[in-house]
């Protein structure tokens, strides 16, 4: 049941981010200055942490989504659904372990940069 709840919550969160992300990217058609200004806010430390949440949400939704597909179409899917949930969680942790150092480095750089301005 929790995988179902998480799938819905992460789905809604990603949907609303997608709406905003299409609009902010559309600014490249308005003016480079407007785009650079808005995308600049994506680089602040707080948004940097937000991007970690975004990647975490997308990762969970994607991995659990693949699990759902396997449950629906694979002969052994329904039998292995519980195991596959934990496999998805394990892969999710690996994904975040790969992304966190890269992103936290950025957050740290931006944090210091803001301090010197």
């Amino acid at each position: 049941m929790w995988s179902w709840v998480l799938h819905r919550i992460t789905g809604v969160a990603i949907f609303f981010f997608l709406l905003v992300h299409i609009l902010d990217t559309a600014l490249v058609r308005v003016s480079p200055e407007a785009y650079n200004q808005v995308i600049g806010t994506y680089k602040t430390p707080i948004m940097g942490l937000g991007e970690i949440a975004l990647v975490a949400a997308i990762g969970l939704h994607a991995l659990n989504g693949l699990r759902i597909i396997l449950i629906d179409f694979w002969k052994l899917g329904p039998k292995l659904q519980r195991v596959m949930f934990w496999v998805a969680i394990a892969l999710w942790i690996v994904l975040l372990a790969g992304f966190l150092p890269r992103q936290l480095t950025n957050v740290w750089f931006e944090f210091q940069g803001m301090g010197s301005v």
Binding site: R8, G11, V12, I14, F15, L18, L19, I22, L23, T25, A26, V28, R29, S31, P32, Y35, N36, I39, Y42, K43, G48, E51, V55, I58, A62, G65, L66, I68, I69, D72, F73, G98, F99, R102, Q103, T105, N106, F109, E110
Partner: protein, 145 residues
Amino acid sequence: MTTIEAPRSPVVPVKRRRTNWEKWGWLYQRVSGVLLVVLIFGHLFTNLFLGQGVRAIDFAFVAGKWANPFWIVWDLLLLWLALIHGSNGMRTLINDYTRRRLRIVLLVLLAVVTVGLLLIGTLVLTTFDPCLDKTVASQIPQCKA
């Protein structure tokens, strides 16, 4: 006066079955889902992981990517598949949690937002002009008009 059919009269054929849209919506979530795993992780990898990650993103970065039609096609697929996948999911939630008038209002709103953003996104991706930025333009011969 109502006429009663004679016993054992042949079965009246049922009207032709209508398209099962719910089934196609269900299937779409799964097919687009698999494609989106590839498209979105490719997107995240190039934009948030490679090089400087998110710090490298600005107008010039976008211009650099979209100089290659490969990424325009990639982003077009991303736009259409992801937004319709998201809207189809939201449709399920609206159907699950709302009733009557509110449900209709939200479904219409969802449809309007989805179509609007698909059009805006497609327009942006197909009419992008790198020459808008002076620094970028100075590096592209075609920008000299």
